[in-house]
């Protein structure tokens, strides 16, 4: 792993004692010894990731399908809808994004259903770095997070310097959350140290520039292809200091799927068992309706655990999902369905 990276990341106390530790800036305060060993050098990291138990695809898909048959009705459905709304990272990531589009998205984030003001606000809006400056005044004083993709999103194919500059640009413009992408090429080539160092470097940049900037690490599971890879990438991102592990950019198909999210929820559950820390998960892309969202919440509830039912620890990266949630919320509270023309298009 790259010593230069950790030296380029001032602002955090170095771990005492071990001069061999690279990227120490990224390490959580106290990792249990077996996890601290795992990040001591590249060969340890590789051994650790390859020593994780495999994931049986038939089994995990079967479990995901079985949990998807849970029947959530009445009060539990309304509670789920409100929770899901409060977990949405309302997203626009288009080349055609304009300040006007972002302002209307921000308005929607503040009041998802203008006719029903008690509808909860969303968790965050998610935009490209150059749109952060537009979003900040539009959301001032609401508590809604401003997430920005960064690090040469969506492909991640650029130099570390560019990725760090991208991160800096977003944070300096006012982003409170950074959604970075990992270098999938490096991961698939087995170059785990490089992936680790880049996450750690972005983590360090977040910590240097803003207090409490939360880092979401996008694994782009559609390109990792196997559940074994998803599990390894999840642990890699957790070890490197990601606050969130996030499935997808939304630019690759398949984006988020239930079984992939199961694997990632299991990872944060296991991370909590081993370290006592609560880390978060964000499926993104492809979750379009309330039924799907509730299936994800059931998975959060039963795979990770009830304490993950919180916008701090689980998010949906979505755009059209919010309207369906709003429509279903009205159906639950008013006893009948309205229609798509009764909610705002953006």
């Amino acid at each position: 792993m790259n010593r230069a990276v950790s030296e380029a990341a001032p602002g955090r106390a170095e771990l005492p004692g071990d001069a061999e530790l690279p990227s120490s800036a990224a390490l959580p305060d106290q990792l249990p010894s077996h996890l601290a060993d795992a990040v001591s050098d590249e060969s340890h990291l590789r051994r650790f990731l390859h020593g994780l138990p495999g994931v049986d695809p038939v089994g995990v898909e079967g479990r995901a399908a079985a949990l998807a048959t849970r029947s959530i009705k009445k009060a539990s459905k309304l509670a789920a809808i409100d929770l899901a709304i409060s977990m949405v990272d309302l997203t626009t990531l288009e080349g055609a994004d304009t300040p006007g589009k972002v302002r209307s998205l921000a308005a929607k984030a503040r009041r998802p259903d203008p006719d029903v003001p008690e509808t909860p606000m969303v968790a965050a809006v998610c935009v490209y770095p150059d749109m952060v400056g537009t979003a900040v005044p539009a959301l001032a004083g609401t508590g809604i997070g401003i997430a920005s993709v960064a690090t040469a999103f969506p492909s991640g194919r650029s130099s570390l310097a560019v990725k760090l500059a991208d991160t800096r640009y977003a944070i300096e413009a006012g982003a409170t959350e950074v959604d970075m992408v990992i270098d999938r090429g490096a991961f698939l080539a087995g170059n785990y140290g490089l992936v680790f160092d880049q996450i750690a470097a972005v983590r360090a940049e977040c910590d240097r520039l803003g207090s409490g900037t939360r880092l979401k690490v996008i694994l782009e599971t559609g390109e990792l292809a196997t559940y074994d890879n998803v599990r390894r990438a999840s642990w890699l991102a957790l070890l490197a200091g990601g606050d969130f592990i996030k499935t997808s950019t939304g630019k690759i198909s398949p984006a988020a799927t239930l079984p992939v999210t199961h694997v990632m929820l299991q990872a944060v559950h296991d991370w909590h068992v081993q370290t006592g820390e609560l880390r978060a998960v964000k499926p993104a892309g492809g979750i379009r309706n309330t039924k799907d969202a509730i299936r994800y919440l059931v998975a959060v509830h039963e795979v990770a655990g009830p304490q993950w039912l919180d916008p701090f620890l689980f998010r949906f990266g979505a755009s059209s999902l919010l309207n369906d949630l709003v429509m279903q919320r009205r159906a639950q509270t008013q006893g009948h369905y309205s229609g798509p023309d009764y909610v705002t298009v953006d």
Binding site: P53, G54, D56, G59, S71, S76, Q266, R279, L309
Partner: protein
């Protein structure tokens, strides 16, 4: 990352399936000679094990009625069914398969009310698999000459069949479908505590226009089963149930030359190696022993886990079992339903008390248990040794015995060290180990990285005291044809 969260509590609201969908009648009659007729035995009341409330009155048969049914089956065999071309028999089977699918929701409700299993299992497993068995065997009916049993394999005649209470509809399908496809006629007796779903199946069979006498369905207790399997008019006996009764059947039929297949008890080992996909293995362990409240002859009731991962697996297992929802079987979110009868519940209590007395450590799921009805919470015994009764006897309930091993040889030795040999599970990501274990395990079914999978195309059956003969697949078909192939069981 230290921020603590809101403590949101999410209770799933009850989501009960409507009992009205089951269209339960006040009174059910046995089905003999194509008609629903009053039996000459005593009436029984069948109850809902989840509430202990009566569901319906069922007329049971006498031994004279057994005679009548066997005669009806013989007549149907001689005059209609054995002479009918296979392609025509197949049409009836297809019709029954479709009839089950069309009345799937009703059948699922009836099964859950009468048996106590969760509606999600009767809906997603029992009923669709029952239908699949008829579909699968319908396809065989006109292809018997291509099944590898010679150029023109013949049916055996009248089959006498006795089925258990754990999968009332599915076991009926396992028994009836291959028998009819091969050209036999059937007299089948349902279990005493679960007669309803098979009598709905009788309506489907009648609606399909199956000629009278081809399928006869009897109700009653063990004495009727005994009269049926010993009836001189029977050419073939198929029994699924306890090893004790299986033994009696075998000794009473010895020397009669009658073909027998027995599918009896089990004490399956679910073997988890340290290179297993641990999270899915945990799922498989849960599915292996808590599916259908553990009322499964092939249940993975002995967990053999490699010592190096035993603690990790057990911790994950306890966490997972803690999420199982036990309660009203009609609720779509219930994972573990009711024990089928008070008698079975006492047996489970008795054997678990023995586990305590023998020094095993009991762990019980913290999930709340309903105060009415027959329920037993998911239970794990750890620190179990081969010598304990809970490691040797079939408990037939939601109780898992955990043993450990150090090497593959030890795993095989412990897994095989049982009078039973119905099924086993192997969890490892190493393909060669799966194949090696499958060869070494003395069990009729070996699942690799899964458990409790049932498919009509796959042969199912046991070794040793788990019985002999196979059901399902080509070999299951052979059990209803006049061929020596059956004796080998493959």
């Amino acid at each position: 990352m230290a921020k603590k969260t809101s403590g949101f509590e999410w209770e799933y609201a009850p989501a009960p399936e409507s009992a009205a969908i089951g269209k339960l009648k006040e009174r059910y009659l046995p089905f003999i000679g194509g008609k629903f007729v009053e039996g000459n035995g005593e009436e029984i009341k069948t109850i809902n094990p989840a509430t202990e409330q009566p569901l319906a009155v069922v007329s049971t048969v006498s031994t004279d009625d057994v005679d009548t049914a066997v005669t009806a089956a013989r007549t149907a065999y001689d005059t209609v069914w054995s002479k009918m071309p296979g392609s025509e028999r197949g049409k009836y089977l297809f019709r029954i398969a479709r009839g089950i699918a069309e009345r799937a929701r009703e059948l699922a409700v009836v099964e859950t009310l009468d048996n106590g299993k969760p509606i999600k299992e009767s809906r997603d497993v029992d009923v669709p698999t029952a239908s699949a068995h008829f579909f699968y065997h319908a396809g065989w009916a006109d292809k018997l000459q291509h099944a590898g049993f010679g150029p023109d394999p013949k049916p055996l005649g009248v089959a006498g069949q006795v089925i258990p209470w754990n999968f009332p509809l599915l076991m009926a399908a396992w028994k009836i479908a291959p028998a009819l496809a091969a050209g036999n006629t059937v007299v089948i007796k349902s279990a005493e505590t679960t007669p309803l779903s098979i009598l709905v199946l009788a309506e489907i069979i009648a609606d399909a226009g199956v000629p009278p006498g081809v399928v006869n369905i009897l109700t009653g207790a063990g004495d009727i089963g005994k009269a049926l399997v010993n009836h001189p008019g029977i050419d073939k006996v198929a029994f699924t149930g306890s090893t004790d009764v299986g033994r009696q059947i075998q000794s009473s039929l010895a020397g009669t030359g009658r073909k027998v297949t027995l599918e009896l008890g089990g004490k399956a080992a679910n073997i988890v190696f340290d290179d297993a996909p641990i999270d899915q293995a945990v799922e498989g362990i849960v599915n292996g022993i808590f599916f259908n409240q553990g009322h499964v002859c092939c249940a993975g009731s002995r967990l053999l886990v490699q010592e190096s991962v035993a603690e990790e697996v057990l911790e994950k297992l306890r966490t997972r079992i803690g999420t199982l929802r036990i309660g009203d079987p009609m609720d779509k979110n219930t994972d573990v339903g009711a024990i089928n009868s008070g008698e079975q519940l006492s047996k489970i209590r008795e054997l678990t008390a023995v586990g305590d007395a023998e020094g095993a450590q009991r762990w019980t799921s913290p999930c709340p248990v309903p105060d009415r009805g027959f329920f037993f919470p998911p239970t794990i015994f750890s620190g179990v040794s081969q010598a304990m009764r809970i490691a040797r006897e079939e408990i037939f309930g939601p109780v898992l015995s955990v043993l450990t091993f150090r090497t593959p040889d030890e795993a095989v030795a412990k897994a095989n060290n049982t009078p039973y040999g119905l099924s086993a599970g192997v969890w490892t990501e190493k393909g060669s180990r799966i194949l090696g274990m499958a060869q070494s395990l003395r069990a009729g079914v070996v699942w690799a990285n899964t458990f409790n999978r049932f498919d009509p195309t796959a042969a199912f059956g046991g070794y040793k005291e788990s019985g002999f003969g196979r059901e399902g697949g080509r070999s299951g078909l052979g059990a209803y044809l006049d061929t020596d192939d059956v004796a080998e069981g493959f």
